[in-house]
């Protein structure tokens, strides 16, 4: 599977983070964005999302809580990623340990690392199908 066909959902309460993400990755993969966990769940239900990247510190639903809800949806082939400036945060670390999040990406985002991760995931999808 080409990564240009991968649907990526990016969740962050900061509008400029969403917009700069779109502007940077536009054309590289398909981008959906949400400013909060509720919207994110709605988008997940309606679209075939393969990768969800969420900020952790958000009002109402934290990133880790959102990813826990995603886990409960029991969607097939979805890669959950946390994007946070606080990698040492206990909640984030627990989420990584229990597999709620597969990766944790630091802020500022490393463009190449993210593309690498998505490529790798796209490859594993291909093997499965």
């Amino acid at each position: 599977m080409e990564i240009s066909n991968v649907n990526v959902l990016y969740v962050d309460d900061e509008f400029l983070n969403l917009r700069s993400f779109e502007l940077l990755f536009k054309g590289k993969f398909k981008i959906y964005t949400a400013t909060n966990g509720f919207d994110a769940i709605e988008i997940l239900k309606k679209n075939n999302i393969s990768v969800i990247i969420s900020d952790h510190k958000m009002p109402k639903i934290s990133g880790v809580d959102l990813l826990r809800q995603v886990k409960e949806l029991k969607l097939k082939n979805i890669l959950p990623i946390i994007h946070s400036g606080f990698l040492e945060d206990e909640e984030v670390q627990t989420a990584l340990k229990e597999g709620t999040a597969k990766y944790c990406l630091d802020k500022p985002l490393n463009e190449f690392k993210l593309i690498e991760i998505i490529k790798e995931f796209a490859k594993s999808l291909q093997i499965q199908t």
Partner: protein, 407 residues
């Protein structure tokens, strides 16, 4: 007489110009179990006290060279011996003499001829009093250190709340600035490529070259700036965990770098920092506290170098060498900080970890920095020590912290 713990024998100095008195009183006290020293005149008494301070002094008033009042006043002026209790022993019975004796700093006055029992009780009382006041002083000092430490912890906790909030707030703009720069760079590169194909004349090509020549450098500079801000914010994060009492798996070299980053404005351009970090495992510790220890040692090193520069003129080879090493056998990490600043005098070397000891000017140092460092390192079951060698402008001071590795 023995102390409360029954191990210490007390020493008493008797000063009297009458050899008979010395003999009688001396043998009497020795029978009671005291170590007795004698002095035949005031000057001898003062010198004897200075060389080897006794636990108590029995002082006659009428003596040649220096009389008892003078000896007492002289002793009260010396910081190291001023707290030794002095009991006057004299045949003078006028209240005038007694008042003189108490004014000079005596704690008691016994008139001759004396009752043996009375002398003994007075001696015991004053030794006990002195002992208790010493214990109280130590307890008070400890309390003051604890209090300062508590205030410091409170401050750091408040700072932690502030910095973690700040770090989070800064992380977001850094993130979208960083993303935007990358996006802009991609588009600019494309634009330059497209312009190249569109440039038809030599003039166009030259103009394009001139206009785009600096573009890569401009992007590099922005990226460097973003990296710097990112590192500063990251290093502040350790303070966000100071209020939590739990231990965090931390890299010692990262904690040193954090301390260096905070002190950067104080050493940049004038002091070279040489780092010899050898690989060591991460260890469980209170990162903010350990970083505070490093901050203190480094800050003292910078002070020492500043002082040396002030005294001997600026020298370009002023430096701080930081070495870390891991001892696999004992499972300890050794961190050594060496500077070539003003150095530490041999006479004060043993006191620098004592609370309230400072060589700095009034209001410049609390005298608690290294005392707190020492208690933090103790709390981590480690050790902290100092070596200072050389003199004048060629001093070397070296602080060594040894921490057991816990994981």
């Amino acid at each position: 007489m023995k102390s409360d713990d029954q191990t210490k024998t007390y020493s008493i100095l008797i000063a009297d110009d009458n050899p008979n008195n010395l003999k009688i009183l001396g043998s009497m006290l020795e029978k009671m179990g005291y170590n007795v020293r004698v002095a035949k005149n005031g000057e001898q008494a003062f010198n004897s006290v200075k060389t080897l301070p006794p636990d108590l002094i029995l002082l006659d008033i009428h003596m040649p060279i220096m009389d008892g009042y003078e000896v007492c006043k002289a002793i009260k002026k010396e910081k190291d011996i001023q707290d030794i209790p002095i009991i006057f022993l004299s045949a003078l019975t006028e209240s005038f003499n007694k008042i003189q004796a108490f004014k000079a700093g005596g704690v008691d006055y016994i008139t001759k001829p004396f009752e043996v029992e009375e002398v003994e009780i007075r001696i015991i009382n004053h030794i006990r009093l002195r002992e208790r006041s010493l214990k109280l002083q130590i307890a008070l000092d400890e309390l003051k250190v604890k209090e300062k430490q508590l205030i410091q912890t409170e401050k750091m906790a408040a700072l932690g709340v502030l910095t973690s909030g700040l770090a989070h707030e800064i992380n977001n703009p850094i993130n979208f600035i960083s993303n935007s720069i990358l996006a802009l760079k991609e588009r600019t590169d494309k634009l330059i490529d497209m312009s190249k194909t569109l440039a038809s004349t030599d003039e166009d090509v030259e103009n394009l070259r001139k206009t785009t020549k600096d573009v890569p450098e401009i992007f590099d500079n922005i990226t460097t700036g973003i990296d710097h801000i990112t590192n500063i914010v990251k290093s502040l994060r350790i303070y966000s965990r100071v209020d939590k009492d739990q231990l965090v798996l931390s890299s010692i070299s990262e904690l040193i770098d954090t301390s260096l980053l905070i002190l950067y404005h104080r050493y940049k351009e004038k002091i070279l920092i040489e780092k010899n970090y050898n690989s060591a495992p991460k260890t469980l510790c209170h990162p903010a506290k350990i970083s505070q220890v490093f901050l203190n040692i480094l800050s003292n090193a910078i002070d020492g170098i500043d002082e040396a520069n002030l005294k001997y003129g600026e020298q370009i080879d002023r430096k701080i060498v930081i070495t870390t090493s891991f001892d696999e056998k004992n499972s300890t990490i050794t961190i050594n900080f060496q500077d070539n600043g003003i150095g530490i005098k041999e006479s004060v070397k043993n006191k620098i970890f004592d609370p309230f000891f400072t060589t700095k000017e009034v209001n410049k140092g609390s005298g608690l920095g290294l005392a707190i460092c020492s208690s933090i390192i103790k709390e981590h079951n480690g050790t902290i020590s100092v070596e200072s060698a050389g003199s004048d402008d060629k001093s070397k001071t070296s602080f060594t912290v040894i921490l057991p590795v816990r994981s």
